[in-house]
Symmetry: C2
Subunit: 495 residues, 2 copies
């Protein structure tokens, strides 16, 4: 594909002067349109060294409203970034609704530079391609407009530019050894780039190869590509009917295959106070030690608690954290998303909070809200929650690939037990604050939630991130089991 690129394409100065001002005006208008439509835009600039990425971004920055864009320069990962899965730093930087982020180099550094310099094994390379495809698919599905440019120049042109840069004292510092190295191995590099471009082109997120031997030609092509992409995205958004957001209809019995996974939960399991105290002490001791071992082994740990209202999440989490050094863990309570969070991909807020190496993050509710409350209440469309199972599995896979231990709990109680607890809370002035109208509303939808929970358990229990159901009619039993599972998983990870 790159060999067929015609690098002789040029545009005359006269023609350029004629058409470029209009392109500038159009681009500025497009930015306003995109802002109004609330479309997030990410523009990736990759290409040969000295192909003019920086200049191109500069040129765009001159036209765009500076209050609406950011530039992210992809340097070597910082210490903080090295302590998380490699995609973390890009997730963090994603544009919100109506924003533009230009990436000067990007996640492609990994399969261009890292691969070229032999820093990736074959398996790691394939993994990286997979991660990228998944990442870009998730973005596109969520309505983000991603535009990817490869700025292409010939070996000869690259040589000419590097020499010219070296001649001036003002620009000499820009030329590095690795750039000359790239020029010497141009052919080999080209093959590698070619493969990478092909593998990461999708119909949703295609690459645009830009003939960049002549700056003017390249600019015109980049401007035109961005303009038409934004226009198309805005038109698509207007054309497409808003997704229908309807609450889940009352499920009928035929939607359940009895006995369901929930029917089979043995809620009579219980434990006496004395045994509880004894076990608690033993497990706490183990856990305290394991936390330290995980810290030394630099293992990140994610623990998720989901469950029925009043199932005892808070108490169970407390029995867990009591054994932990508070400098090593964080509890993240998950409520409705804020305005800023709503302006981003729904996983954005969770990506930002994942633990760094050696640390534990406990989520009190989590990204599973997407397939529970959002599905039941119709806060997202059917297409969105159906897609979410896969997206969540991929999210957790990336964490697991990085070495994260993922432990997920569903706290299960039956409807009668829940009612008893609600009533007890309501009559106890010390506990009234714990019960809200929302709890009663959710309770009325027990059957809806059951269906959603069953789907969730079945579709997101993976080898690397299995669900554990906690039989929680007896709170003490649930707490001990939760602790035991955490201990077992951490023991296995540090063995």
């Amino acid at each position: 594909m790159l060999e067929l690129v015609d690098l002789n394409q040029r545009i005359s100065g006269e023609e350029y002067e004629k058409i470029f001002p209009d392109l500038e005006a159009q681009l500025a208008a497009c930015q306003r349109m995109a802002r109004q439509s609330g479309i997030p835009i990410a523009i990736v600039f990759e290409g040969w060294d000295a192909a003019g990425k920086g200049m191109m971004i500069n040129r765009l920055a001159q036209v765009l409203d500076p209050r609406g864009f950011r530039v992210y320069l992809t340097g070597d990962p910082s210490a903080e970034e090295q302590r998380r899965p490699w995609m973390w730093r890009f997730w963090k930087e994603l544009p919100g609704a109506g924003e533009i982020v230009m990436f000067d180099h990007s996640w492609y550094r990994r399969i261009f530079d890292d691969a070229a310099q032999g820093r990736l094994s074959r398996k790691e390379y394939q993994q990286a391609v997979h991660d990228i495809l998944e990442f870009e698919k998730q973005l596109a599905d969520s309505g983000l407009l991603l535009i990817k440019f490869w700025l292409h120049i010939s070996a000869k042109e690259q040589r000419r530019r590097l020499k010219r840069l070296e001649q001036s004292p003002a620009t000499r510092w820009k030329v590095t050894k690795s750039q000359w190295e790239q020029n010497r191995k141009y052919k080999k590099w080209q093959k590698l780039v070619e493969t990478a471009l092909q593998r990461t082109s999708s119909s949703q997120n295609p690459w645009t190869v830009v003939e960049a031997n002549q700056g003017k030609f390249a600019r015109v092509k980049v401007f035109r590509t961005i303009i038409s992409a934004i226009k198309e995205a805005c038109a698509r958004r207007e054309r497409e009917p808003a997704p229908s957001l309807t609450p889940m209809p009352e499920p009928d019995e035929s939607q359940f295959y009895r006995p369901t996974i929930l029917d089979r939960v043995d809620l009579t399991k219980s434990i006496g106070r004395e045994e509880y105290e004894r076990e608690l002490e033993v497990l706490h001791k183990k856990l305290y030690e394991l936390e330290h071992r995980c810290y030394l082994a630099k293992i990140p740990v994610v623990i998720v608690y989901e469950g029925w209202d009043a199932a005892g999440k808070g108490g169970t989490i407390k029995r867990l954290t009591r054994a932990l050094d508070p400098r090593g863990y964080e509890v993240v309570p998950v409520g409705p998303p804020t305005t800023e969070e709503k302006a981003h991909h729904y996983l954005w807020r969770f990506w930002r909070r994942i633990p760094k190496t050696g640390h534990i993050t406990i989520f009190d509710r989590s990204w599973y809200g997407r397939v529970l409350v959002e599905r039941v209440e119709g806060y997202c469309s059917q297409e969105e929650w159906e897609r979410a199972y896969r997206e969540i599995n991929e999210f957790e896979r990336q964490l697991a690939d990085f070495g994260t231990v993922i432990i997920k709990f569903w706290l299960h109680i039956d409807s009668d037990e829940q009612l008893r607890r609600f009533e007890r809370r309501q009559s106890d002035p010390q506990k009234q604050w714990k019960i809200t109208e929302g709890d009663w509303r959710n309770r009325a939808k027990r059957k809806h939630y059951e269906l959603a929970v069953i789907d969730m358990l079945q579709r997101t229990s993976t080898l690397y991130a299995p669900w554990t159901i906690l039989e929680a009619n007896c709170k003490l039993f649930a707490r001990i089991k939760s602790l035991r599972v955490v201990v077992e998983r951490l023991e296995a990870a540090t063995r």
Copy 2:
């Protein structure tokens, strides 16, 4: 003061068992009260090595609802933190309304450890004390509850603990050379701590010295102190009438000392298109070079644009950024605060966005909103905006002390010119989006704003962060002058 502390204070196991469970229950209730009252709480733990800070935080963590607190471990500053004023990392971590943050070591590291290890000059020490006092005052004034503990043990007790830790293989790694060093120089350290405690005790933010030779005694004292501080803070908040939030009354002529600083602005200043283009090119070239020089010299730059609606802030900023490499600057448009921002000190959101060394941050509107729109519209109380002048000067001083170049512009146009521009915008379909009803509302309050602007210019123009008024009836003139001032300031800084 430390010599008078009676380290023989003890509590019997029996008494402890009797009173401690009740303290735990009270503390948990206090956390809920504070959350309901929306009070942010910061608890600082400082003390001798091996005095039990970690254990104490652990004990508190066992009682508190883990969803409502965080622990911040003050390690050595990270690379990112070293590139900003030293208080940045603490500002970032401040609790929002209803949150608790426990600091395991804190900003006091600087005047305890750094000073003890000779890493601070006398002048730096005094500066640090000043910064701390100012920081804590700002927090207290904003309604944050700060509780500071010094855990005190005797030299003998410290020696005993270090030895015991060394004896067990499980804890040996905890004991470092510097801890033994501290023990050897206990007397010298004590004097230093004593001075620091005295200098940083204020009526708003006193220190509590905790006799920590016996763990039980220390725990009881810490719990009791926190409980009573929270109760008091909640009671105070209930007792105090909500601050009256009233818009600024119509100012009368007697409030102006004519001619005011604004009256004296010569709005006839202008420049022709040709001269403009010529100057623009010259200044852009200089600026491009200066940006790079600042980068190499690791100088952070803050540029603030404030001004009347339609005075041309956007266009002026654009003429500035056009000359800059977009990887080196960021434009921060400042709108009404988000819910999260409102839950914090009003300067929190600006502290978070200050530039790192070698970078430029351009604020399109800024923290001056406090003394402009918030004052005029009554979004904050009179006490709050009156305090703000000093708080802002201190904020900017800390940036300047770190070496930041601070450039502030007020874009001035007269009322007639503003009306012309509003009308032109309204009649041009391409520009209608630029004008909102809010603009007309603000215009009706011209006189109010004039008074606020005059106060602002006079009270926050400092040697380290002076205001420049841009005569903006002629847009071209304002743009050139803005560029020229930026060039001059950066030249002076890199000379």
